[in-house]
């Protein structure tokens, strides 16, 4: 007999397709994009589905144009997105800076590959800085969500649309080539969030009112001061309300392994292997990279002896872990420059070297 019951609602699908279908379920009205490996399936899927549904799809002439098209669509209050990867997300940095200043609900799916420069198409976490610190000008933050499973690709895509509109702030789903290409059973539940009323700011045509202006140009210094104070009050609220993480075995841990995204899967297994060997290891996974769960890490720093940041890059998130810990305990790095995450056994060996 074919087993239906436990899995009948689930389908096996790639991270990239899961993200695209989730965006459609979330009510994404417009997709603008330019192909780049390892996320091209998102645009391919969207090109067919959006036309089928009578929604907007444009094969943009560049990532530069694509992100600006998203801004244009978002200015009308529409749910709009683009997707890209590393070197091409670099081309969007100017527009992301504008979009934070314009306070527009832009959604960007960033599927990381190796860098710098053209790099290669293998998985990487080398764009942690790009996503959380940004390459655009001025004081701004992007909300950054980091999935670690294909199911989370769905759930956090839903959340990305919700948070972008709730806070009128560009939001990034930061996946990587491994998650994009990986297949796992997923369930597409309905979009679980309320729709946000945007009637107070969206451009709809100045009918019976004066024209609204969405702008970032502030000729007077005092206006810019007021604006930035307001913007950062919003970021504070996001930090208080939306910070999310997963932790296992941290209460009695001598060493806490901190890791995000696909890499965290192997780190979780490594933590269990450590426990089997008698090493009291804990596991901590930031799900929101901005806001970063600094407060919780700071609390944990008072209870544990050491933290180790495990990353597939040359060490980026470790900076935020160190800031959170603020010198209370040592913070070490276990890394692999690029590629699929190190095997759990390899991680354990290196943990043993460090403790």
């Amino acid at each position: 007999m074919i087993a239906e019951a436990p899995s009948s609602k689930k389908i096996l699908t790639k991270g990239n397709y899961a993200i695209a279908q989730a965006a459609i379920n979330a009510g994404c009205e417009c997709y603008f994009g330019y192909p780049i490996t390892p996320q091209s399936e998102i645009g391919e899927f969207m090109s067919g589905k959006m036309q089928e549904l009578g929604r907007a799809y444009v094969s943009a002439e560049s990532e530069l144009a694509a992100m600006n098209m998203v801004i244009g669509a978002c200015s009308t209050g529409a749910k709009a997105m683009t997707s890209s990867s590393s070197c091409a997300v670099s081309l969007m940095q100017e527009a992301l800076s504008y979009a934070t200043s314009d306070e527009l609900p832009v959604v960007l799916i960033s599927v990381m590959r190796g860098g710098p420069g053209l790099g290669n198409i293998y998985p990487s976490q080398g764009d942690y800085f790009q996503a959380t610190k940004g390459g655009g000008n001025g004081d701004y933050r992007l909300i950054v969500l980091a999935p670690s499973t294909v199911q989370e690709c769905v759930d956090l895509t839903y959340k990305a649309f919700y948070l972008a509109h709730k806070y009128k702030n560009p939001t990034v789903l930061l996946a990587d080539g491994l998650l994009g290409q990986m297949m796992e059973p997923v369930e597409f539940k309905e979009y679980p969030y309320p729709e946000i009323d945007n009637s107070s700011w969206a451009l709809t045509g100045a009918k019976g009112r004066d024209g609204r202006v969405i702008r970032s140009y502030a000729p007077l210094a005092e206006n810019q001061c007021v604006f930035l104070e307001k913007l950062f009050a919003k970021y504070k609220a996001i930090e208080e309300n939306e910070t999310e993480w997963e932790e296992i075995g941290t209460e009695d841990a001598d060493v806490i392994l901190v890791s995000f995204g696909s890499t965290s899967r192997n780190v979780k297994t490594a933590m269990k292997l450590c426990r089997e060997k008698g090493i009291k290891a804990g596991f901590f996974r930031p799900i929101t990279l901005f806001p970063f769960p600094s407060k919780r890490l700071s609390e944990l720093a008072s209870k544990t002896k050491k933290m180790i940041s495990v990353e597939v890059n040359m060490g980026q998130m470790i900076n935020d872990v160190r800031l959170a810990v603020n010198g209370k305990i040592p913070v070490e790095l276990i890394n692999k420059p690029v590629g699929a995450p190190p095997a759990p056994e390899e991680i354990v060996t290196r943990i043993e070297e460090l403790i």
Binding site: I2, A3, K10, E184, R265, K268, A270, A343
Partner: protein, 183 residues
């Protein structure tokens, strides 16, 4: 209980599809499962491969050091993955294209003339699915019914006409008389 499988072969032998069918069958059997393609220089070279991890609990780790089952459809895959097999693991090799050498005493070898059997069936492209039949029998991890249902789900609409042939290939592989090494 967690087991992992690598299916490897030439580009064009359908190893990614075979992996997807296997992963879907595990999903239908109510297991947790993850499928991912290989990442490495070999992607543009001789072999293509994918790994499937199936478990009763959440599948966490990927890109594992060692593997329970390898299906090697060509010599290059056999040579490359032999050392990756866990002690007590199984190497299933396509003896139509792979030399029957047994250099490791701590694993089982299953040599089946997969390409030849597919040719006899009338379509050499069925080799990947035929190999899944061999794997299903050897691993005792996945049922033929789940694999058949998986095939029905995975084959795209324009290939649905090949479903009966695929099912036949699966059964031929499953029923092929295996002689484990050392037996």
């Amino acid at each position: 209980m967690e087991k992992n499988f690598i299916i490897a072969g030439f580009g064009g032998q359908g190893v990614l599809l075979a992996g997807e069918v296997l992963a879907t069958a595990f999903m239908l059997a109510g297991k947790k499962v993850t499928w991912y393609p290989s990442y490495g220089a070999e992607m543009r070279g001789g072999t293509v491969n994918c790994e499937v991890v199936a478990s009763d609990e959440e599948v966490s780790a990927v890109n594992k050091l060692n593997t329970d089952f390898i299906v090697a459809l060509n010599q290059a895959s056999f040579d490359r993955f032999l050392k990756k097999i866990k002690k007590g693991g199984v190497m299933i090799a396509n003896s139509s294209l792979v030399k029957e050498l047994k250099s490791r005493a701590d694993i089982d070898y299953l040599f089946s003339p997969i390409t030849k059997l597919a040719e006899e069936l009338g379509n050499i492209k069925m080799a990947n699915i035929l190999a899944l039949g061999v794997l299903a029998k050897a691993s005792k991890m996945v049922s033929l019914d789940n694999l058949i249902e998986a095939l029905d789900r995975v084959l795209p609409p324009h290939r649905k006409n090949l479903l009966p042939l695929n099912i036949k290939a699966l059964k031929i592989g499953y029923e092929y008389d295996l002689l484990p090494a050392g037996a």
